[in-house]
């Protein structure tokens, strides 16, 4: 009799433990899927509302302190996965070294994608680069123009896939 009670308790304990383990493993699986989508997106930003440049229309200008940077991307409309020419003109600063552009997505970490710029005239620079396609379907990209010793200016724009 005592042995039966003990066996019953053990079975109930075992069943409870299994339920807990199953619930825990389900939470782990769900956690991985949810966390993965959050982690991949990087810092939360309302990407769509931050667009400050309509790159499809022409030249965009942004200022940061005394520094004013104009950016033109060709050919237009600006499409992902094609060779693009980035033309930059700078006023309010005379950098000792040519500036460069960091391309990325505000909503997704895409890896270092840098466009080296070469001088084409006084305060004007040019370089080629590619905006890659994100399988998530997000289309908002940024071009961060970094002017050594003078600061940086960020252009946020949409591309066409």
């Amino acid at each position: 009799m005592k042995q039966n009670i003990s066996t019953g308790r053990r079975q109930r304990y075992f069943a409870k433990t299994q339920v807990l383990k199953i619930a825990l493993s389900f939470l782990i699986l769900l956690g991985i899927l949810v966390l993965s989508s959050v982690v991949a997106r990087g810092p939360a930003m309302a990407a769509d509302t931050m667009i400050n440049c309509d790159a499809h229309k022409g030249v965009c200008s942004q200022s940061s302190g005394a520094l004013t940077v104009s950016l033109e991307i060709t050919p237009r409309p600006v499409k992902a996965m094609q060779d693009l020419v980035f033309k930059v003109s700078i006023t309010g600063a005379s950098p000792a070294e040519p500036p460069h552009i960091d391309l990325g997505m505000p909503a997704m970490k895409m890896g270092p994608n840098q466009v080296a710029l070469k001088p084409t005239g006084p305060g004007t620079y040019e370089g080629t680069g590619v905006v890659v396609r994100c399988p998530s379907g997000k289309r908002t990209w940024f071009a961060n123009v970094i002017v050594p010793g003078s600061g940086e200016v960020k252009f946020i724009f949409d591309v066409i896939y």
């Binding site: 199953i22 782990i28 991985i32 899927l33 966390l35 399988p135």
Partner: protein, 213 residues
């Protein structure tokens, strides 16, 4: 950088593969899966390096990548269905099901991809999945190839860039594989069934993404 993105994009696939292994050791299959991916990345890097043009190669492989995404979705769904035990192959193929036919044998092999060796070709295939950081790394491979003195050096440099990139993705996916490894659970049937539902959902997501890509 790639840690979060790898978990986000390839995490569901790795979870599916881990669940499909059930109580088998996850280490060798996942090593082979990663090795397959790294080989594909390296080959793509070599091609990028020798051509020196990302856009040229990318435009040629776009169709293959779309196909790989759809195929990955189908693979995950089949693995999920087979793992759940809810649907037999007779039901999947209807009255025309012939256990000896080439197609059903192929699907059975895919669904029973529990032999560690099967994970290498799966990795080779899934290395073709379209992915932003992979594209960015391929851009770097093309750039490295452009700076090379000759075609051989360009191939080596391109492959080297992608080899390093691929190896960099392994720890993140291994971590996910380890977390999804349910070997410690004694009664796993329920979690496998829940996992099967997740796998089918992920598979459908991949197919839709692949069609719309």
């Amino acid at each position: 950088m790639g840690f979060g993105h790898c978990i986000g994009m390839c995490g569901p696939i790795v979870v599916s593969l881990s669940l499909n292994l059930k109580d088998k050791n996850f280490l060798i299959p996942h090593l082979l899966y990663s090795a397959g991916r790294v080989v594909t990345y390296s080959i793509l890097g070599g091609v990028m390096g020798v051509t020196g043009s990302f856009t040229l190669v990318a435009s040629h492989i776009a169709g293959i990548q779309k196909g790989a995404m759809i195929l990955a979705g189908i693979l995950i769904i089949i693995m999920g269905l087979a793992m759940s035990g809810w649907i037999s192959f007779g039901k999947v193929f209807g009255d025309s099901y012939n256990p000896g036919s080439f197609v059903s044998k192929g699907f059975q092999r895919l669904s029973r991809a529990k032999s560690p060796a099967a994970y290498f070709p799966i990795g080779l295939l899934l290395g073709l999945l379209p992915c932003g950081p992979v594209y960015t790394a391929l851009l770097a491979a093309a750039g490295a190839g452009m700076k090379a003195a000759g075609p051989l050096e360009a191939i080596i440099k391109g492959m080297g860039v992608m080899l390093c990139f691929g190896l960099g993705t392994v720890p993140a996916l291994f971590l996910v594989a380890k977390l999804a490894d349910m070997g410690w659970l004694k009664k796993r049937e329920l979690i496998y069934r829940i996992g099967a539902i997740l796998m089918v959902a992920v598979g459908i997501y991949f197919i839709i993404k692949g069609i719309r890509y």
